[in-house]
């Protein structure tokens, strides 16, 4: 009887766990997509008509079996890199990615030089 109860609980939990996984994936993707109407917000945060349509489309693409990156590629093809909050490294974004590293190295070099000078 006890085993039956445990089995029943596990069986009831499985759909919930699967659904939670889907929701997690969908939320992760929509948080990285820019809303078309209110451009300072992510699709996840926005409740505009177009953001809601994008959420439905993300669900459809996930159901079709597309991966996170394939969904990003789909939106990039339609709207360009601008649609992603976390754009990849390419010829338009290399300054964005490399400038902080350069500034960090430059700052480090200045500090090391100053310390050496003091010693």
């Amino acid at each position: 009887m006890r085993i039956l109860k445990i089995t029943l609980i596990i069986l009831l939990l499985i759909p919930n766990l699967l659904f939670a996984d889907d929701q997690f994936e969908r939320n992760k993707i929509t948080k990285n997509l820019r809303c078309l109407i209110c451009q300072g917000q992510s699709v996840y945060d926005s409740d505009s008509d177009f953001a809601n349509s994008m959420k439905i489309l993300v669900d459809k693409k996930l159901a079709e079996g597309l991966s996170e990156n394939e969904i990003y590629d789909f939106f990039k093809e339609k709207y360009g890199d601008w649609i992603l909050y976390d754009p990849g490294l390419n010829k338009n974004t290399y300054i964005l990615w490399l400038l902080p590293i350069l500034i960090f190295l430059l700052g480090g070099a200045i500090i090391i030089k100053k310390l050496k000078f003091k010693n």
Binding site: L36, I37, Q39, G40, D49, F50, N52, S53, M54, I56, L57, K60, K78, Y79, G80, W82
Partner: protein, 172 residues
């Protein structure tokens, strides 16, 4: 000399930063996408507005003539502004107008067309808005000029006299 160098650098840096921010304030924050696109039209299936029969994109855009796909809704105020221009365009033999009714109430959309006229040869329904996203639309209204299954140009926002003349110059 060295005493004056540091304050000068600081002042110059502040002036540069001020100019950058000042220039940034003058520019609009709204992203305006490039309308010069020669992309293939998306493949999709939809439902016809009147007959509610299923239809695929290949059945609609099946010839080599010009098509004008207009995304519209009865609740969209700028759509009313541009409607007279669409009615004028519908008189042309050079272009076929296709309407994509975006997230609308059927009765309201019907009243809209009864009142202002129906410029479209076919109207498709986009009930959940996903077809518009497939087209890469940014809002309602939005218009796509299509030739040989490619998007020739894209007009974000309502059409006006200038844009209509541009369309005429492309399709003639």
């Amino acid at each position: 000399m060295k005493d004056k160098l540091i304050p000068s650098i600081i002042i110059i840096s502040f002036i540069i930063i001020f100019l950058i921010f000042y220039k940034g304030l003058q520019e609009t924050n709204i992203y305006t996408p490039n309308s010069e696109i020669k992309k293939d039209i998306p493949i999709f299936s939809s439902v016809k507005f009147d007959s509610k029969e299923n239809v695929s994109s290949s059945e609609i855009f099946n010839s080599n003539k010009f098509y004008l796909l207009n995304i519209w809704a009865s609740w969209c105020v700028p759509c009313r502004q541009e409607h007279a221009y669409l009615m004028r365009l519908s008189e042309s033999d050079q272009v076929t107008l296709i309407g994509l009714n975006y997230k609308d109430n059927f009765n309201n959309a019907q009243n809209f067309l009864k009142k202002l006229g129906n410029p479209y040869e076919t109207i498709l329904l986009d009930e959940d808005g996903t077809i518009s996203i497939e087209w890469g639309a940014y809002g309602v209204p939005e218009t796509f000029l299509i030739h040989k299954n490619k998007i020739v140009s894209k007009y974000i926002g309502p059409l006006n006299e200038e844009l209509i003349n541009e369309i005429y110059s492309i399709i003639k």
